[in-house]
Symmetry: C3
Subunit: 355 residues, 3 copies
């Protein structure tokens, strides 16, 4: 991947950890315990990985102090309180950065647009009227930035992204390839059997440190704006409809869909494939498990689910037919009837004995 | 957003409404009741918004006659029978239009393609052999129009759209960014453990006034065509497989997926995330609620659903385990047994009393 | 579509079949039984299509020997053991091929990239440092190939595809429009209420004869690679997260999503909209029905399902409420109670008779 090397001592310092072993050991990359070789650094995050760690050929390991004591096969360590966080930090050291600067001569930039000196604008990028691109922001090839879009500093916008709808983006925002932000919301007034398009006049406001995956669609608002607050992270193929608002540090896994005007609180986690209807509120600190369908507001923090568990298809068919039958089987009433019958039987039995 | 201004009287005339108040009141935009200021027009659609409307700082309100009489705090009105429709119409007045004309010099257009005089072809658009682009149609930057694709008049094709598979598109069609139309259908003949690709020879036919969102995939037919009839509206991230046919004025919300050769009738509404299997028929005027799985034809108009409601995760786990148990719990037989036992108990009781 | 013509005898030879009827009958395309005309070849795959076949105006039919004997209205045939496979092969004969060669002068290719002589590089393609494109590979317009990506021979990469993350692609791979391969995996270390991005250092490895639809997202691995083995076929709008591994000849229909580090075996079929959680294993030869949610490893070949069947919305609401009640209705215990009560009743009855 990358041929830069770092010595163990320097890497330990970067994560404010303590190193043990050969201070000048040269490491050229991070690797998983299984695939790591002598020039690799790997991390161990929990006791359950101890066997794997003992067997690993990694040149050095990121561990906690207590894990270190159980790894007799190894001699080179970086000891930290949170090995996973240290690993996360070190991935940035070994990442191959885009080192291009300036504006490629094939970019089409409207004269009224303001592009910071240290920004990079890739080949075939098109930037419209009155756009702003901040310092150290990287715009990869083929990006379309429509008029009145503003992008902050140190952002990364990957290829084929479409930014339109007068979207405003904060600093350190990363938007992955082929995502569309600011597209027209799905707003139509039904009248006499036809759909009358409502031109969408709102925008999209994206805070700082937001991350959006590839092939996402985030629509502009109808009148007010669609809002992603600071620190929101979004995976691939996610749909955010017009006028949705998502609170700080909320995470949406791949293939979620949020319908129009719904408000999601802070620090929520929506697992993959979750669907949320429009015009509801979800409180802070809510977790929703994968593929759940959220049809009502959630006012209490907690974990929520819907759906049915996987079965082999044949028993599933039987269960599914009985799910249908539930429409005509009054379960709670049934329970009461059974309780009542039990009482009747017991009464019969005791009366009978008395005789 | 926009600095054009219109006076109250003119706006009322555009929606065939009656104005009340200051005829020359200058309005520069539409806004929601909450955010509207003195230069904004807002709309009130139902009694439940009356308190919000009373508190609104909007300069003027679009209302029905009966709503107007209840809004004592306001003096400037446009009175119409259908405020939402009037609002929909007025969004077009305040929308910022693409005013570009002609062909950008970076567009690559095959000499055999026919581009109407009043069309706009954006930067880095690529148009292949024998394509046609109609009058007043706008093709935004980076669009790829593959050979033999035809596009009607007054269409809007946003950036990074791929049109291929000899797709034919009617008039006033809007296709949002990064959508792919005419891609190869997913057709493979299984033989000796391998998948043998079936080259797709059909096309896609799109009627007039169709709207397709961003990041959609609409595949060309295998032999016959995939068809979207007039007035169909489709949201973002929707999959339409080969040889699907969708009837006029049917609406598909975001993240729907329709498998191959399925036929959907007219005036249907599929809510978000609905999946429909292949080779079935859905009648006209069918509504399908969000995230439903449609595995059989629907022959009657009406509303249909599947899935389970959301619960807190702990009770959900109990309910989910019992869903599995349903495979071995013959519910209707159980009901009969309970009815029978009841009869037995009653018979015992009455015989007992007689003794 | 296409104006090349082939005679019946030559087409029969291409599929190693036997022709009957007019050997020099000129055929200019394949068509469905319903739409076929005198110059078209259609196929009949099963007895259930016999009526349709008899009524068809097709000039010739691809059939089995036994089907041929039942089609008295027709005289021109190609007889083979597997008509669907023969049809699949012949679609390639009538497919309009991209005949362009060479490198369009608007392509931006880094001097260190190696492009085979017989490859085609379309307009506005951008190819980065150290990339390789193999012989006869077609790269359509606007494709972005980021540094260190390698593509084998006879591949087809459609417009607006983004290849990044140092992805390595085998031979005869087809990737449809607007798909993103090698995008950054969704990896974050939570710490003190924030998400700390983990730069993704792994890659994507794609074998030979793999097919990927449009608008898919296939992420690069965190440390190790995301892997698609030979012969994997994937439909549109599919999400493959970091470090997923998919075995040979497995098929994923549209809108599937596979979460991180999950391993799927060989020859599996996932129907549309299936979601699979991360860090699990699915055995070879597993079929998963549409929209199922897979939350646990599957160790046995077979067919698996989840979800509930579709109902009219009113009975569905009743069934759905009772699904919730299942959380408090101990079904199997209920069955035991009923069995016990039955015994009690029978005991009462027999004792009663004895008296």
């Amino acid at each position: 991947m990358n041929h830069r090397q770092f010595c163990l001592e320097d890497l330990a310092r970067l994560v404010q950890g303590e190193f043990f072993g050969q201070s000048d050991l040269q490491l050229e990359g991070l690797a998983s315990l299984d695939l790591a070789q002598a020039r690799h650094l790997a991390f161990v995050n929990a006791d359950k990985y101890l066997d794997q760690a003992q067997a690993s050929k990694a040149g050095a390991l990121i561990v906690t102090a207590s894990l270190k004591n159980q790894l007799s096969n190894h001699h080179n360590f970086i000891v930290v309180a949170n090995p996973y966080l240290a690993f996360a930090i070190l991935t940035h050291v070994f990442e191959k950065k885009c080192e291009q600067k300036g504006i490629e001569d094939t970019a089409q930039i409207h004269p009224s647009a303001i592009i910071a000196q240290s920004a990079y604008i890739g080949h075939y990028v098109v930037i419209g009227e009155k756009c702003i691109v901040g310092e150290q922001t990287i715009i990869q090839s083929h990006v379309k930035i429509d008029h009145d879009v503003e992008i902050g500093q140190q952002c990364f916008i990957d290829s084929h992204v479409t930014l339109t709808g007068e979207t405003k983006i904060g600093n350190r925002v990363r938007i992955h390839a082929n995502t569309v932000i600011g597209g027209e919301g799905f707003g139509f007034a039904p009248y006499q059997g036809k759909w009358h398009r409502i031109a969408q006049l709102g925008s999209v406001k994206i805070g700082h440190d937001v991350r959006i995956g590839s092939n996402c669609s985030i629509d502009r608002g109808a009148l007010d704006d669609t809002i992603l607050e600071d620190g929101v992270i979004i995976d691939n193929l996610v749909q955010i409809a017009h006028n949705v608002k998502i609170g700080t540090h909320t995470a949406l896994a791949a293939k979620c869909g949020i319908a129009g005007s719904t408000i999601i609180g802070k620090n929520c986690v929506l697992a993959g494939g979750v669907g949320v209807v429009g015009h509801i509120n979800i409180a802070d600190n809510v977790t929703i498990t994968g593929m759940s369908m959220v049809t009502k507001s959630i006012s209490e923090a907690g974990s929520y689910s819907s759906g049915t568990p996987m079965l082999e298809s044949l028993p599933w068919k039987r269960a599914a037919i009985r799910f249908k039958q539930l429409a005509d089987v009054p379960l709670t009433q049934l329970l009461k009837r059974i309780d009542h019958m039990q009482t009747q039987i017991e009464s019969l039995e005791s009366t009978f004995k008395r005789k």
